[in-house]
């Protein structure tokens, strides 16, 4: 198993390089090339001044060099080994060795990209780490329930609802939630933006009643802020997965091994929960690989609607500000996150199904 993991991790390297190359080429292809982003920023300057500043930036970010050099330079930046101090006129200096990986500097924020990403990435990962169990819990429960009462009103209603839920655009759901439940003019029971109250730092962790007044505390405040975004992120997933679960439970209920289990004298409940369930979740784990990129994409929209400062919002800002370095690093990091989560999904599958071995 360890061998397999190492092999998969090694295989990721060419894929990641491919991703960055693809992104780099796309950016380089753009009209005006890579310099377009810089050109836009200095608004009212004399032409000679502007030219000078452009020259400076071009030199500083290596934009005056041929494309392949620019790419190698960027690659050198992000790798944990390679030419050190290559920023100035790469590749003239050659002290090669281990170094701390560097995602470059944001062209607009004038901060190291790695700092910006370090703030945003945990937020996005957290959102998805909460979303995935919620999706699975709801879809497994609903799928079992619908399959057991196949053809009854719950089954029919859930079938229709899930198809409808599946088609609701995330942004519409987000906008409607925001407009209906976080609106001073309609119902104002949820916060409209962010993950924490501005005063969250001063709160206690758990709810408390100092002096008889209810204070919700940090945790509850967090959950309160998360409610709407998490609903937006989950409904599509569980709508799709509960259909899958229902079909899978129905299939396994009439499977031969379920009949064997019944013939052993197990109760219907035991057959369902011990034998059918364990087999029915297998396809759900398989599709995890398919829905994870979708989830990351969904969190981009949700972050943008609910003003949550995650990777998605960072990406949108970077594009609006034409911040090439940030876009590249963003693609790089998201690529790694997706590939790692796909690997985790595959490992989960191997853990759940003894027939699958990765040797």
């Amino acid at each position: 198993m360890l061998n397999y993991i190492i092999r998969r991790l090694l295989l990721m390297i060419p894929t990641i390089i491919g991703i960055t190359l693809l992104v780099f080429l796309v950016m380089a292809m753009s009209p005006g090339g890579l310099t377009a982003g810089i050109r836009g920023q200095e608004g009212n300057m004399r032409p000679d001044q502007r030219k000078k500043i452009e020259e400076y930036y071009k030199k500083r970010y290596g934009l005056d060099q041929p494309l392949y050099r620019q790419y190698l330079r960027w690659l050198n930046h992000v790798l944990p080994f390679g030419a050190k101090e290559a920023g100035e006129g790469f590749p003239r200096k050659w002290p090669v060795g281990l170094k701390s990986p560097d995602l470059g500097e944001s062209l607009m924020r004038h901060r190291p990209v790695i700092d910006v990403v370090a703030e945003a990435l945990p937020v996005t990962i957290l959102l998805n780490l909460i979303t995935v169990p919620v999706i699975y819990a709801i879809s497994i429960t609903a799928g079992i329930y619908a399959a057991r009462r196949r053809g009854n009103s719950f089954d029919v209603a859930w079938g229709t609802t899930s198809l409808a839920l599946w088609s609701i655009p995330t942004m519409w759901a987000g906008v409607m939630f925001l407009g209906l439940f976080a609106n001073r003019d309609v119902i104002n029971i949820f916060p409209a933006s962010g993950l924490h109250d501005t005063l969250a730092e001063q709160m206690r962790f758990l709810p408390s009643w100092p002096g008889g007044v209810f204070a919700r505390g940090w945790l509850l405040d967090f959950a309160w802020h998360l409610t709407l975004p998490i609903i937006c992120l989950t409904y599509g997933g569980f709508a799709f997965m509960s259909k899958l679960m229902r079909a899978s439970v129905l299939e396994n209920l009439s499977a031969d091994f379920a009949r064997t289990a019944r013939a052993k004298g197990l109760t219907d409940r035991a057959v369902l929960f011990r034998h059918v369930l364990s087999n029915s979740v297998l396809p759900l784990i398989t599709v995890a690989a398919g829905i994870l990129p979708g989830l990351l994409g969904g969190s981009l929209i949700v972050e943008s609607i609910f003003s949550i400062n995650g990777m998605g919002r960072l990406m949108i800002d970077a594009i609006f500000q034409k911040d090439r370095e940030l876009v590249m690093s963003e693609a790089f990091v998201i690529g790694i996150v997706s590939l790692v989560s796909l690997l985790v999904a595959d490992l989960c599958y191997a853990a759940a199904d003894p027939r699958v071995t990765y040797e």
């Binding site: 753009s30 990129p293 979708g294 990351l296 949108i316 693609a331």
Partner: protein, 410 residues
Amino acid sequence: MSNFAATPADAGTDVQFPTSNVDVPLPWLAQVWKQSISQRAARFGLAWISVVAFCAIFAPLLANSFPIAIKMNGRWSSPFLHQLTATDVTLPILTLLCGILCFVRRIGFLSKIYTMLIATVIVGSLAFIFIRPPNTPRETYRLLERAGRLQSVVRTPIPYTFDDRLYDQFSADHPHPWAPSHDHWMGTEKFGADITSQMIYACRIAMAIGFISTGISVLIGIVFGGLMGYFVGIVDLLGMRVIEIVGAIPTIYLLLIFVAAFPDYRSIYLIMAIIGLTSWTGDARFVRAEFLKLRNQEFVHAAIAAGLPLRSVLFKHLLPNALAPLLVSASFGIAGAILSESTLSFLGLGIPVGDASWGALLNEAVSAGGGFIWWLATYPGLAIFLTVLSYNFIGEAVRDALDPKLRERS
């Protein structure tokens, strides 16, 4: 239907579709289509898409600031005709042609498609070369009518073009957006354009985005996957890496990266191309898998043994069989493309400002100040939802028709 497998009666009467049928696949496709359409959900989907298509084709007849006919100084004239754009003219002509072709029996299915493609190119380019509507202010005829210069006016049901910003009705103490009223059934947006009209014109973008970007992605998918499945070996290996690379990045991020590469040159065609370029991996995987599976089947060996080149077997005989499943993927693909466009427009990175798009309208529903404009959230959102739902319904129905086992279970 009974789900009890052991019942002997079931064995003989199950409808079994041939999964790999080398001969004429079209009757089979027709059968699948007929079966899909027999489902209520699919019929609903088709009905809604017909409504959207109707709005898209006849948009200028449904919503136009220019009256269909006026009587001015005792003479009848039609400002509407003078103001038609190239698109306005091309779409109905092509629809008419399509309708005629459907009734012509003597031409084969493929020739019909070729005819349509050629006609599209010819009519489209002619229209774009010769039709240049004058840039008349949209409020002209309202002002004329108010001034009493028109003896009679025949208007379209919604008397506003999508880009008519009601400059004549501007008032500082009643700023846009206006809530729905008798004059503006769905209200107005922040610049003053009528939303009903915008919704109608946005159908064009929805239809075009759906079909063209899915067309692009399916085409790339077939060619890419086909080449991989045909050549196998190193081509297949490299191709799979490319698919993995494109597939590893969430689609929306990929879209944003492409959009970011063209910050100032956005147009509807670019968006279509970008959506097509980012969503082909699924189709390519499918075609490849199908080719690899079929290559090793006995009837293919038999065909090759009989002297048919592998190329002809794969592309002429096997590809048509993969078409029906591709239809399913295309149906979901259209839904996805519409979602992608709406999402991009919603994020402010889609079609250029000023064009009508459901996503862009939805974007305005929550203003920067936190105000919620319900009519801007409800109607465009509902339109996107219904359209996506319709294509999903159709996709599901076709898939169920293709897979009888699945249908039995549900």
